[in-house]
Amino acid sequence: MSDASLHSASTTQPGEAGFGDFFALLKPRVMTLVVFTALVGLLAAPVAVHPVVGLAAILFIAVGGGASGALNMWWESDIDALMKRTRKRPIPSGRVTRDEAFAFGVTLAVMSVVMLWLATNALAAALLAFTIFFYVVIYTIGLKRWTPQNIVIGGAAGAFPPMIGWAAATGTVSIESVLMFALIFMWTPPHFWALALVMRGDYDNAGVPMLTVTHGQRATRVHILAYTVILAVMAVGAAFTGIGGPVYLAVAVVFNALFLRDAVAIWRRDEAMAEADNYRVERRAFRLSLWYLFAHFTAILAEAALRGLGLAGWA
């Protein structure tokens, strides 16, 4: 345990955190991605859902995702205290105790799974339970401090929400929901490695075996390009499946061209070039990756809406 975590543990008094501190434990920014992709999964499904049931499903998926975030912060409070990006989180800053975060996370995790089951079906609840387990036990406790492939495998946890949304509506897992899963799964590594290049010192200090730390910048840049090429093929190819159509194809072509341009630029650069302009291209790629995912899922939603009006698809 680090000095920082010992210090925060000794100064934090239980029961004194504010409402906002507990809300921050849910990782609200990550939650917006969970809510959005789960909503697209739910609305793109070919089954009408009662609006109240749909609202409840999205809410409980979001709470389940938030519970994962709280349990992640509970386990990682020692390394969070060492990284600039995370040292203001509720536990390392001393506003919430680790025990409070653990109890909060477990309670919300159980409640969200049970309530999603009651509101929708057992498959959606089982997928949510597996997602929480995967993120907390497999990724956070198991892989993150052990292998540089942590982001690749851990990315699966963030890829489940649209699949859960789809399952909440249909009660099944289908090729369309697997494609949405695959889109996020393949997008996660280049997205996080671009961030890791920008935040290079942070992971070093915390001893997290990110690819940038274990294999260096060159290998990370090659990996970003390789994953982006595979992602582009998959994302554009999805236009010709059940979730795609002309609108999706147009969006996919534009955003994959932009993402590939940045990935190639990152691959052509070295550390000295990046230091010279304060990682301008890497920062741009990271920001673009956020828009990339938003655009693709908005296009999937647009295709579903047009299909509902009998206007979309290739037929």
Partner: protein, 60 residues
């Protein structure tokens, strides 16, 4: 006679209690809404003591 100035800690506790109260009220409203949505669904049915499915809801 003057009131003592409220301590920051009390403000924080009040904020937390108010937030929790609103969350619980929202949860109750959501469960109520879910119940209404489920029982008015055409496919909703309850099991009778004889083991037969007695259909309920507006569709029946």
């Amino acid at each position: 006679m003057s009131f003592r100035e409220e301590h920051e800690l009390h403000k924080r506790r009040f904020g937390r209690n108010l937030g929790l109260g609103l969350v619980l009220a929202g949860f109750v409203a959501l469960v109520f809404g879910l119940t209404i949505a489920k029982v008015t669904n055409e496919g909703f049915a309850v099991r009778t003591p004889q083991g037969q499915q007695a259909p309920q809801g507006k569709g029946n």
